[in-house]
Amino acid sequence: MKKSTMLDLLVLVIRRDLVLAMRRRADVLATLIFFVMVVSLFPLGVGPELDMLRKMAAGVLWVAALLASMLSLGRLFSADYLDGTLEQMMLAPQSLSMLVLGKMTAHWMVSGLPLVLLAPVLGLQFDMSARALGVLIVGLLLGTPILSMVGAIGAALTLGLRGGGVLLSLLVLPLCIPVLIFGTGAVEAVSSGLSVASHLSLLGALLVLALVFTPWVTAQALRISME
């Protein structure tokens, strides 16, 4: 028997959650399909003028990504809570924050990363330019992990509550507004010929902030919810 290090634990949790997600593929696919559908509904709602679609593309994609990630957040801790695994995680001789970080990472790989990969295809529906698409992808790459991390706080706070899903969105969506603003702002900066660096670096700063604080806050929220 060998003792494991912090990093081993992180890898273990990520691998575990990924394997579980693979064996429950339907859930992952549902989130993706939701994302594609919401984005595709917009042109049907506002009309097919390309000029208008091009203008709203970034906003639509970002808002859809935000809603799609809310959809999958409810499951982030609840399955582990119901079958007792979460108790065991809290008893792990490593910091709970590390485990939480692992779960956040896995959540992003399952529900954030696919959205990023799908975004360029959907962007074409909105006639986005190649450069705008590139910036959109970089923005989503920086921004979707923040959604997973901030969302995890909400998921931990609403653990085991009735109507947790709706409540979760109510708590988390306002906190995600800065991400939305900088993400869409970057794409708009491209079309208006401004520098995108400031937007993206602000997103990067938010990502670092979230990385530093959210695992700890989520761990505290889990301890509160487990009482």
């Binding site: 060998k2 273990l12 575990r16 394997v19 079958d83 007792g84 809290m90 792990a92 485990l99």
Partner: protein, 204 residues
């Protein structure tokens, strides 16, 4: 080793117990008794640090468990009502992951050996979905075999187990105690450990 002094606990507005004190030393076993709702599970969960006691202190090796935190968790093992088992994973994967969570890297061979001793030969790689209630409990209990924790906290370990499995658990507990381990447990079924004095704690 484990000293509990003047512990008080409540759920909501209802006071479960107060002024509870006891010591547990190496090689000792203690059963927590009480009617339904007397706070057995709450006591065990307080000992795990899930619940914050209203008053009192829980001290492990001379230090409060609040301060020790991870060092305490490295030396204890908790088995609750819930099995902490994933339906989608096989028995083997479940065991290796739960051992990993408690800080132990478990080789496949060791895990298989543990599962076989729990009477799950030939079922190691089946998804736990297809196992019976008792077999799942055995998967969860296999953690006892691969853990090096000093203190076992077992909440109703015998639920859903058949006679053979109960005998096996008694044997495991006896081994653990012989190696200077400590056990605190609750049960509604009789549990006998040969050659050991069983202490009891009654909650009323």
């Amino acid at each position: 080793m484990l000293e509990v002094s003047n512990l008080a606990c409540s759920r909501g507005e209802h006071r479960l117990f107060s002024g509870l004190s006891f010591n547990l030393h190496l090689g000792q076993i203690m059963q927590v008794q009480g009617v339904n709702g007397s706070g057995k599970t709450s006591l065990l969960r307080t000992l795990c640090g899930f619940l914050m006691p209203d008053e009192g202190d829980i001290v492990w090796r001379g230090e409060s468990i609040r301060e020790l935190d991870e060092d305490y968790y490295a030396e204890m093992l908790y088995l609750g009502h819930l099995n902490a088992i994933k339906d989608e994973l096989s028995a083997l994967e479940n065991l290796r992951i739960s051992a990993g969570l408690s800080g132990i890297k478990l080789e496949e061979k060791e895990a298989i050996a543990a599962l076989r001793r729990m009477g799950l030969r030939g079922r190691e790689k089946l998804p736990t979905k297809v196992l019976s209630q008792g077999q799942r409990r055995r998967v969860a209990l296999a953690r006892l075999l691969v853990s090096d924790a000093k203190l076992w906290i077992l909440d109703e370990p015998l639920t859903a187990l058949d006679v053979g499995a109960v005998a096996l658990i008694q044997e495991l507990i006896a081994e653990h105690l012989a190696q200077q381990g400590m056990v605190i447990f609750t049960t509604h079924q009789p549990l006998h450990v040969a050659g050991m004095e069983m202490r009891t704690l009654s909650l009323s």
